[in-house]
Amino acid sequence: MKKFLVLAAILGFVAFGCAERKAVVPTQPQEMQQPQTKAPEESTKAKEKITEQERAKVESKDIPSKFEEISGMFKDIYFDYDRYDVREDAKQTLKVVADHLRKNTAQKVLIEGHCDERGTSEYNLGLGDKRAKSAKDFLVSLGVPSSRIETISYGKEKPVCSEHTEDCWAKNRRGHFVILKGK
């Protein structure tokens, strides 16, 4: 309330000043003498035309793959929650993959890293990336040249099981192997 009184006092002073200035210099612009009527007068004339830019659809281009993909030749390997180290029970599958690549020297392998649905898309993509890379490192340790191993992360975006249970989550925390053959 005190603030209001102070403001009112200042205003009274200003009103006083405006009138006085008008008396001394009558050629000053009109709007300075009557500031309070300016806004409504102007707004009476306001007009606006509402338009919107037509949005043309943009088609994403598909780039054809250089490789023929063969999925399902190997079992998936599984990971612990929020971990990316290769588990003991995954090592047998990785040895089978390494053997296959040794025998089929024209082929490459793509390792997909996947996560369960808990957590957010981007962090899970980082985690899936680490899972695929640790599987890759294990294959390299078995003698597979790293140039023949590709990796990709799908994070939590491509689950094989959609229930919200620990059983299902365990199935989704996986590494999946795809053989790439030149076309």
Binding site: K3, L7, A8, L11, V14, A15, F16, G17, C18, A19, E20, R21, K22, A23, V24, M32, Q33, Q34, P35, Q36, K38, A39, P40, S43, A46, K47, E48, K49, I50, T51, Q53, R55, K57, V58, E59, S60, K61, D62, I63, P64, S65, D82, R118, G119, T120, S121, E122, Y123, L125, G126, G128, D129, K130, K133, E150, T151, I152, Y154, E157, K158
Partner: protein, 449 residues
């Protein structure tokens, strides 16, 4: 969980009586004054002139809780009801206005404005309007100050009937600006990703979810899009043909270009104020690290090099600070650092799993998704690490980001079963689903304009 938000709410400001009490008095003509006093008073008059034009009815930066009672009359003419209903919904969502029930109105829409009809039901502002035309609409709208009994805004709007919703949102923006002195967000939009039949596509909808349409952008997997500051571009990651590329959709050129790709996972982040520069995370050098990239020069700059996962970078409004997620301490947590990657410090210490930060355009808050009782919830935190507040408590809630005025948050939630996009006020109030049933969507981002 305690809700302790007190950042903005409604309140009358004391400048309201400025224009009504200032009446230059001729009685004072005989007075003369020294030159210095004259200059001072001229300055006062100029200030007063500015104040009268920018009269603010509600100070929305004040923490006090009073809502401004407003009566939005049903408009007359074609689509009058539809248009006035949209305006009412817009104003209502802000939480700044108390939209009075039309059943209580004493004055029929066709009657001329009489302040006594409105002050008696407690209305302090009144909106009346008339729409004519069927294919080409002309809406004439008046906003009245019921207490002073005068018109404070009159405007004529023209458009075609197919743009009825943008028309109504434009009127709501004008009312909002007149009452608060700030820009409304009623013509902004939300971009999000929809997942159907193993394929993702980017959709664009009005902020209230209406007029949703696919932009034609499709990919095996698409991640949350990011807007350029001028609203003319979207940046997003898409996995196509076994590679994570960062793509740019230019609305002006209606074209999509791949701006960055490499081996590994490339995830687009925010644009810097400069429209050609953005931040992103990539595992091109091993584990996920943060980089900046300038498009025409292809200039790549590495900001972090840790063995852990560093993702989800978000920029302060001036681009000088970066908040991001790192698991360098064992679990994913929010960190903050300078633009050049220096001075990194941890921001969150509560909970085992905090991700997806997004910085308010006002600069005062960062929202993120944090694990609470096995579910992901939306939280807000101050950039200094103080004032952590939980904003949601049903289902899993992710991907939060702010409206351009920093007053609302858009996010995804599975509280109804399938993933959908929701909006809410910055204090967690008025949570509202804006995407339809049957469409699985995520990664929403509010347009800057």
């Amino acid at each position: 969980m305690k809700k302790s938000f007190t950042i903005q709410d409604s309140r009358f400001k004391g400048v309201k009586w400025l224009s009504s009490r200032v009446v230059p008095t001729q009685r004072l003509n005989y007075l003369t004054a020294p030159c210095v006093l004259f200059l001072l008073l001229t300055a006062c008059c100029l200030l007063l002139s500015a104040a009268a034009e920018a009269k603010v009815y509600i100070d929305i930066t004040s923490p006090a809780a009073r809502k401004l009672p407003i009566a939005v009359s049903e408009f007359g003419g074609t689509f009058g009801k539809e248009i006035s209903d949209i305006i009412k919904d817009d104003l209502d969502f802000t939480g700044i206005f108390l939209c009075l029930d039309r059943n209580a109105f004493m004055e029929a829409p066709s009657q001329p404005f009489n302040p006594k009809n409105w002050t008696v039901i407690g209305a302090e502002a009144v909106v009346k309007g008339m729409v004519s035309g069927a294919r080409n609409l002309v809406a004439t709208v008046s906003l009245y100050d019921a207490l002073e009994g005068r018109e404070i805004l009159r405007k004529e709007y023209q458009t075609e009937a197919s743009l009825l919703r943008p028309l109504a949102h434009t009127i709501a923006n004008d009312i909002y600006r007149q009452m608060t002195g700030e820009s409304g967000i009623f013509r902004t939009r939300v971009a999000y990703v929809a997942r159907k039949g193993g394929e993702d596509s980017i959709y664009l909808a009005d902020w209230d979810g209406h007029r949703a349409m696919s932009l034609g952008i499709k990919g095996n997997v698409i991640l949350s899009p990011h807007w350029s500051k001028d609203g003319s571009r979207l940046l997003y990651s898409s996995e196509r043909n076994r590679q994570w590329g960062i793509y740019l959709l230019d609305f002006k050129k209606t074209s999509e270009t791949k701006v960055f790709s490499s081996k590994g996972t490339n995830i687009a982040g925010d644009f810097f104020p400069h429209p050609d520069e953005f931040i992103f995370s990539s595992s091109m050098s091993g584990s996920q690290d943060l980089y900046t990239y300038r498009i025409p020069a292809s200039k790549l700059n590495r900001l972090t090099s840790s063995r852990g996962i560093e993702v989800s970078p978000t920029l302060s409004p001036d681009g000088g600070q970066i908040s991001f997620i790192s698991d360098r301490d064992g679990t994913p947590q929010l960190f903050i650092m300078s633009r050049d990657g220096s001075n990194a410090r941890r921001l969150t210490f509560n909970g085992p799993y905090n991700t997806s930060p997004s910085w308010s355009p006002r600069g005062d808050k960062i929202v993120f998704s944090g694990r609470q009782g096995g579910k992901n919830q939306i939280f807000a935190i101050n950039p200094d690490g103080s004032g952590i507040t939980q904003l949601t408590d049903r289902g899993n809630n992710e991907d939060p980001s702010f409206s351009p005025d920093g007053r609302y948050i858009v996010f995804s939630s599975d509280r109804d079963g399938e993933k959908a996009v929701f909006i809410m006020r910055v204090n967690g109030e008025a949570q509202k689903r804006i995407t339809p049933k049957g469409l699985r969507v995520f990664g929403p981002r509010w347009s800057p304009n």
